[in-house]
């Protein structure tokens, strides 16, 4: 049983994992890039080692250095978090080869599920329904894909084989625009995952993105912890998740959960994973892909089940049986997560960088914030713009929404722009309140500007506030000028000196 865990990640998820380790009594080893010397994960860990310069490929993607550090520091386990090396079977295999426990699935399962083409083929064999698309293929050329596309039909999606998080994903409406989109998808996939392979998938319209958290131990137990509703996305990036989904009833939950378990069993899965489904308007569901790692949005499942998923991951990685059987998993209340990104919702969600000068985190009953930033921390352009996750729990969905509203209103971050106003507007949207949305809602039927117009108008107050702030600034600069005048007293001195010498 391992006793020291190296966390091969940064930001909020590194902090999350360090917390779990500390609460179990395991020692923690952080790794960091030059940009992250004062990051929270470095401050909280028992040990910390520099990886290299800020760019990910020189730091957090340096599998070789990370394994060296694990060896040198005596870490006998590695938790990869999400992103970076989390779904790289070569990394998982290298850990195993070095005698280090990889807290996650076996390399073979990562390989099978990580390559989206193989994943589809595998689950199809196990009888799991999939979205129509390119099957059984690894490295298809652009020509192959262009040939296959008309059989799948438009609109379709180009997706990165090594993908996740919407990176390297493109929507294609016609064959004509496909060559250019293939190029840009491959470019983005290459830059995000070091792997430019892509595949095609039919675009299911009006669908919801529903995912199931599963957990498997080495004793043959595979359990699901219920679903997460992840339909609110922009550019295939999740923005807000909730559990449970308003679209599922107990029967559907049970059926989808069993399929999720079956999909995991098909690759002899171990540890935590997520099965993503598309659920169409008629409640048909299709396997999309499996994320063979801890998911960003895992806390909402923790809030409604009371299960600490990271602690269970560690437990299972230590060779012990799951603490819960399927019948022990009970759902209580409703949880929502808003991803707080450093980006400007009023300027096309452009990423925003800078030093956080002030921060006030919402607290109180039913509120959880997972973050890796604090006042004084610098948001650099090198990493993901997600700087915090605001998670709330309520007895009902309505109570969770009301609680999220008050928490968002309390949250202050100064120094970078954030998408908090986007989430505030979403919480006031009638469509969202009614639970009536699909994966295209944000992009096609939600306009921040329009939605804002229907909200309470404080234009007059804003005018007074702006005027007083401007007035204060004018006064302050006037004072500085005056002080400079006083201080620029060399000439007075000179004058005095002259008089003295007269």
């Amino acid at each position: 049983m391992f006793t020291k865990v190296l966390i091969a990640n940064r930001g909020e998820i590194a902090v999350r994992i360090i917390r779990a380790c500390r609460e179990i009594g395991l020692e923690t080893v952080a790794v960091y890039s030059e940009a992250d010397r004062s990051a929270l994960h470095v401050r909280y860990a028992d040990e910390a080692y520099l990886l290299g310069p800020a760019p990910s490929r020189d730091s957090y993607l340096r599998a070789d250095k990370i394994i060296d550090i694990a060896r040198k520091s005596g870490a006998d386990a590695v938790h990869p978090g999400y992103g970076f090396l989390a779904e790289r079977e070569d990394f998982a295999a290298a850990c195993e080869d070095t005698g280090i426990t990889f807290i996650g699935p076996k390399p073979s399962a990562i390989a099978a599920m990580g390559d989206k083409g193989v994943a589809r083929a595998t689950v199809v064999k196990a009888g799991v329904p999939v979205v129509p698309g390119t099957e059984d293929v690894g490295n298809m050329t652009d020509d192959d894909l262009l040939a296959v596309a008309p059989q799948i039909g438009f609109p379709l999606l180009i997706k990165a084989t090594a993908g996740g998080g919407g990176k390297g994903m493109r929507e294609v409406k016609t064959i004509e625009e496909m060559p250019n989109l293939l190029k840009s998808a491959r470019r983005e996939a290459e830059s995000a995952f070091g792997d430019g392979n892509v595949y095609l998938e039919k675009l299911v319209t009006g669908a919801r993105h529903i995912e199931f958290q599963i957990m498997a131990d080495g004793k043959g137990n595979v359990v699901h912890f219920g679903e997460r509703e992840c339909s609110l996305q922009r550019r295939h990036q999740k923005l807000l998740e909730e559990a449970p989904s308003a679209a599922l009833d107990d029967d559907l939950r049970q059926r989808m959960g069993s399929v999720a378990v079956k999909a995991a069993q098909a690759v002899d899965y171990l540890n935590a994973g997520t099965i993503e489904f598309l659920l169409d308007k008629d409640k048909n569901f299709f396997f999309l892909e499996m994320n063979t790692r801890l998911q960003v949005e895992h806390p909402i499942t923790e809030m409604v089940t009371g299960i600490d998923i990271v602690k269970e991951q560690i437990r299972v990685a230590r060779g012990r049986a799951l603490s819960y059987k399927q019948e022990d998993v009970k759902f209580n209340g409703h949880a929502i997560e808003c991803r707080i990104n450093a980006e400007d919702p009023y300027n096309n969600f452009m990423p925003s960088t800078g030093r956080i000068t002030h921060s006030l985190i919402p607290t109180g009953p039913g509120v959880r914030v997972d973050t890796g930033v604090y006042p004084g921390f610098e948001i650099t352009p090198f990493y993901d713009p997600m700087i915090a996750k605001l998670i709330v729990w309520g007895e009902t969905r309505a109570q969770a929404i009301l609680r999220m509203r008050r928490a968002l209103e309390e949250y202050r971050i100064v120094g970078v722009k954030t998408n908090i106003p986007f989430h505030q507007t979403m919480m006031d949207s009638h469509r969202f309140m009614g639970g009536q949305y699909d994966t295209r809602f944000v992009e096609e039927r939600f306009s921040l500007e329009e939605a804002e117009e229907s909200r309470a108008d404080f234009g007059e107050i804003a005018a007074v506030l702006a005027t007083l702030a401007a007035h204060k600034q004018t006064e302050r600069s006037a004072q500085i000028v005056q002080r400079n005048e006083r201080d620029a007293s060399n000439w007075k001195w000179v004058g005095r000196w002259e008089r003295m010498h007269r």
């Binding site: 009023y346 352009p381 908090i420 107050i461 005018a463 005027t467």
Partner: protein, 164 residues
Amino acid sequence: MKYITTVEGKEYTIEVLDDHHIILNGKTMLVDFVSVDGQPVFSMIVDGKSYEAIIQEGEPEWDVLLRGRLYPALVEDEREKRLKTASGGAVEGGEYQLKAPMPGLIVTVLVTEEQEVTKGQVLLILESMKMQNELKAPRDGIVGRIRIKAGESVEQKQPLLSLH
């Protein structure tokens, strides 16, 4: 000091009398306006109502983020504004400088010098925070000098190209 402040197309005449009194559109009001911890976070109590906003100077407007909504507010000195109006208003058009909104890597430049572009057309792609961001033309125009090329790293606010 007397100001004319424009928010969402509406003009407000606001005279600041002293630290606690203003005249808003002719009505005298008692205001209690303080900065929290020296930050651009401001708390204002007026008529018993408590408001808090993040207020930052933009160009040319002040950005007031209040109760989950952004109010860009143009604050003008009344005298200046009158002079400007008398002289026939600001000059429209002219050259536009596209600057990098954040540090990053230029992935592609999609236009060439002297090319005609329309409002909303993508001019170039800038990668930052693992995202590819499209920088678009803010208005119709002709591309002037392009100062960068694909593969180049740029600093925040670095001029990328001009539009005339």
